[in-house]
Symmetry: C2
Subunit: 155 residues, 2 copies
DNA sequence: AGTATCTACTTGCAAAATGCAAGTGGATCT
DNA sequence: AGATCCACTTGCATTTTGCAAGTAGATACT
């Protein structure tokens, strides 16, 4: 869509309606492997820093990571602040809009659990989804809010 | 991932585990704009033919469409038969595995309804999701099964 | 104070995926 | 038999991705 080189416009979610269909418009924002993997990291794995995203097993390239973070921030799904203990670091976190992607992620995990060979890494989340998905969602939100309380409020 | 030119391997869902994470592996299959738009067409808009997919407002290119249909069939999300009334036409339909993507699609629509400017086209589905999502799901499955009964069983 | 290191990027370039326009080949219609 | 419809395929230009290397600012180390 937008070139990697071009600085994306600062005005947020200008989402020019390409299609009359919501699904299509949503996919313009998150219908890309890397974007959703970042949301996964923010949501399920408590990652908040550039280097943490880089360390994910899918090994995203640095330019793609920078690009996707910028887009996520521009779309208002993610916020950023400088690390309270180190000016050269940044912290990224999900906004309400970003957190609300959780149901989508949960359904993705559920589908994967049903149809894909099992993977150890996600086993815990599988089980929690199977036994009580609403509880899992609540607990994830709770842990995100705790982080926010510690970091954002102090900021 | 695989080149467009190369004929994708006939052995279905060989899904080589690139990542230990389910989300990542699911996204290898459906984490692409066009693929999910085809699922949308099959699920929400009762489309079953190549030309119908081409007619969607996002105007997919013919080579991409052919490629994605092939992948969907290889992954076992979609099945195909020749049109009962015309050998040169084909009918595509969702398998159980494909239909089970519905919760993901529904959550995408729900998120879009909450955060994106409203679009007339999807209004009806919005409302049905809001008032009774499980009923909607049941009704969609029912209508797909009716189609299957008409077409597939007769085949 | 000066140098190394860490951190979040940017840049250049090759390879892959996408989009577009124009075929192709088989089935059907007239 | 010729035209038309249909599901693709092909060639090529453009865009996006992936990789490796660089850069600039902040911190840590001596």
């Amino acid at each position: 869509m937008t070139s990697l080189r071009k600085t994306s416009s600062p005005t947020s979610s200008k989402t020019l309606q390409r299609s009359p269909c919501v699904v299509s418009n949503v996919l313009e924002i998150i219908g890309d492997r890397w974007t959703l993997l970042l949301v996964r990291d923010l949501l399920f794995f408590n990652k908040h820093e550039y280097k943490e995203f880089l360390a994910s097993p899918e090994s995203i390239a640095t330019n793609i990571l920078a690009d996707r973070l910028k887009k996520l921030v521009n779309e208002g799904l993610v916020g950023e602040i400088t690390h309270p203990e180190n000016k050269s670091r940044k912290l990224y976190y999900l906004t309400a809009k970003g957190k609300d992607l959780m149901p989508i992620l949960v359904e993705i995990v559920r589908w994967g659990a049903a149809y894909l060979p099992e993977t150890a890494e996600m086993r815990v989340i599988f089980e929690r989804i199977k036994s009580n998905p609403d509880l899992l969602k609540a607990q994830i939100l709770e842990s995100l809010e705790q982080w926010e309380h510690q970091i954002l409020n102090a900021h």
